[in-house]
Amino acid sequence: MMNQGKIGAFISERRKAKGWTQSQLAEKLGITDKAVSKWETGRSMPDLSLFMPLCTLLEITLNELFAGECISEQNLKEKADEVLMSVIASWLGQEKRISTAPSIVTKTVLDVQNVSKRYQTKSHAVLAVKDISFQIPHGSFVGIMGASGCGKTTLLNLITTIDKPTSGTIYIGGQNIVAIPENETADFRREHLGFVFQEYNLLETLTLYENIALALTIKALPKEHIAQTIQEISKTLGITTVLHKFPHEVSGGQRQRCACARALAVNPDLILADEPTGALDSHAARQLLDTFSMLCRDYHATILMVTHDVMAASYCDKILFMNDGELKASLNRECQSKQAFFAQILKKLEWIEGENHDVLETVTP
């Protein structure tokens, strides 16, 4: 973790080396003396916008400022990595993963076998998904990562029965969804799947309570149980106080938690989340991802999340990396902490990008 006291002492030391008083430094930065005093005593950190001017004035690097000491040329790389890790740790939190008992044999909820999807136009054919296979066990939180246009959403559409694969089979809860007749797919979605979208997709004419109730009504849950189910789920997700408000009256985070409640209320086999943190700020995104983790841990919900956000992916148990419609690699979190997993994801992405770059270099003369 970043040591504010150490950083403050370092700022003070550098200021004195320059022969400036706190007031002179404050004047140069266009801030009050009090702010400088607070930094130096470790009570606060400079604002993001002041990092660079402060480093320039004190003639130090940003790494040195975060490390709270001067870094020599010899151990620059190690120190820089250390600083980066401490920033990530303060961003993601320090908790360690609690692993489930290995003796419990978990059943497979989603089994994708050699799935391909080809779109045929008049002039040419596009293979959007190429021979993909993977399994998701019950109660796990799996992420699919990849750049835009790599086939993530196509794969999600195939899993959600919105589209049919050109070849291959997909089993959800032991049922081959490719073989389900078209007129029965809605029944299947209603019984087995829950959805969380990037843009929340709540009906704006309904209150949050009614949005959740609508999903339960469509599932034909006995109407007497609806109120109780909504109360329980809203308590779990912390939206009890805003239940009777319309979507436009609540924050993005609350809207997204309502979308989660709607997905979870019908007790589906699999919850599919398409870029759920895409429209949220970092605080609301972390809250939502914590909720997802809690749902998997405490309620054994199975979640498949499509994302290109590394921070969001670091909450998953397993990550599948897609590129050009293919499954390039996968990462298991196992017992790693979030920040270690985060670093691993970054490395894997770097590797995939490098591979792409190599291919491009080979192709381009």
Binding site: E182, A186, D187, R189, N201, L203, Y209, A213, F246, H248
Partner: protein, 438 residues
């Protein structure tokens, strides 16, 4: 730059503008048609000026409704323009000019088409000057158009001036919510009282001695108008309260979605339904009066004058029926367009195509029948009573003529209903998610 921005945004909102233009054209076309009837009526020494005036009142409510629709669709864009530094005065001016220009275009198309239809549909050969009829009817329509544009423009300006940027951003999703103190009971009492008065007036017309009949006839319009307004205020407030209570019975089939759709803007919905109910009643009255005037056994005035009067009344009936069904159908299409994403989402969370079609059918049926419910209720009470009175007044050959004409009107409305229902349902299919194939 602002002009370029407005034009680009207008191109993006093509469907919205198309719906707006079609609605305005129909409204102004109907206005021109009613003015043609009024002008020809004047030529024949009939005073029919009240007809266009009545239509002006109805149209002010309807134009305000479609102005609100287009304003809501573009409110976010207006907020963005204000954020870019545009003056609110400039923005309001640009929007009002835009609405006016579209209105002028609709005026030209609507009057030309309606005048053409009127000339084709009537036999004016030699009797009147086409030029004079055209000039006078178009001038009258233009005056009415100016009144409508001024009233609606001023109201729109007041509304735009009042809204802050944040409110403009949220205007599209804004709903009319029921205050906890706002109850439906008081409107229910008003309705029951006024409906009782209406029936009392009709009974007065039927049973009072002929010398006193003039009194209930003179005041019957007051309880009638109050009953219509109070009934729809009551219904929509009751539905809002029912929804707010989260009663268990609402959570089955499509009740929740339909109730939410009906009560989302319940104040506007209540007013619009009341206006259409009046429209339907005027249509029914005109049909029955026209049919009576055209009966050879009935001699109320000079034969040609009576024939003209009967034809004019049937024309008015058609005008009101077309207003009723066309605008309600357009309103439903606008709602489908606005809520297109809802059907996709409902499909995602488990509603099958068949269930979605059923939901759409229910929505169209409610939209087209809701305003006529009270009119049918009034007819159910009043027609037998008035038929009894007419049997006493008219010769035996005309006994039960009112029941017969009401039946014919009902069958005609049924044909209109089926036709419009089919058209709206066909148009709504665009918004139901398509099935995917391999």
């Amino acid at each position: 730059m602002y002009w370029k921005l407005s034009l680009r945004n207008a191109r993006r909102s093509f469907t919205t503008y198309l719906l707006y233009t079609v609605t305005m054209t129909i409204l102004l076309g109907v206005m021109e048609l009613s003015n043609c009837i009024a002008v020809v009526g004047n030529f024949a020494d009939f005073q029919t000026i009240s007809l266009p005036l009545l239509i002006v009142v109805i149209q002010i409510v309807l134009v305000e409704y479609i102005d609100t629709y287009i304003f809501r669709q573009r409110a976010k864009e207006f907020a963005n323009n204000l954020l870019l530094g545009m003056q609110k005065k400039t923005l309001t001016g640009l929007f009002l000019v835009e609405i006016l220009l579209i209105g002028c275009f609709c005026f030209l198309v609507g009057t030309t088409v309606s005048y053409g239809l009127f000339c084709i549909g009537t036999s004016l050969r030699g009797a009147y000057s086409y030029g004079l009829l055209y000039c006078q009817s178009v001038f009258d329509t233009f005056c009415c158009f100016c009144v409508i544009e001024i009233v609606c423009g001023v109201r729109l300006k007041i509304r735009m001036d009042k809204l802050q940027i944040r409110e403009l951003m949220q205007e599209k999703g804004h709903s009319q919510q029921l205050n906890p103190t706002d109850t439906s009971t008081s409107w229910g009492i008003v309705f029951l009282c006024s409906f009782g008065c209406l029936i009392a007036c009709v009974c007065g017309i039927v049973y009072l001695p002929q010398a006193y009949v003039i009194y209930p006839v003179a005041i019957v319009i007051i309880p009638l108008a109050i009953s219509i307004i109070a009934f729809y205020q009551w219904i929509f407030r009751w539905l809002s309260a029912y929804r707010r209570k989260s009663a268990v019975s609402i959570y089955q089939q499509n009740r929740l979605y339909l109730t939410a759709a009906a009560t989302y803007n319940f104040r506007t919905a209540a007013m619009v339904n009341a206006v259409f109910c009046m429209c339907f009643l005027f249509s029914a009255c005109s049909f029955i009066t026209g049919s009576f005037m055209l009966k050879p056994d009935l001699q109320l005035m000079e034969k040609t004058a009576q024939y003209w009067m009967g034809t004019a009344q049937l024309g008015i009936c058609i005008v009101f029926t077309v207003i009723y069904f066309s605008i309600l159908a357009l309103q439903q299409v606008i709602e489908f367009h606005q809520n297109a994403r809802h059907y996709q989402l409902l499909g995602w969370i488990g509603k099958s195509n068949r269930q979605l079609k059923m939901l759409v059918i229910q929505q169209i049926a409610i939209r087209l029948t809701l305003p006529m419910i009270l009119a049918l209720l009034i007819g159910l009470f009043c027609i037998p009573l008035l038929n009894y009175k007419m049997n006493k007044l008219f010769p035996p050959s005309m006994h039960n003529a009112l029941l017969h004409d009401a039946g014919v009107f009902f069958i005609s409305i049924l044909f209109f209903f089926i036709g419009y229902f089919y058209v709206v349902f066909t148009m709504s299919k665009v918004y139901i998610p398509k099935k995917k194939t391999h």
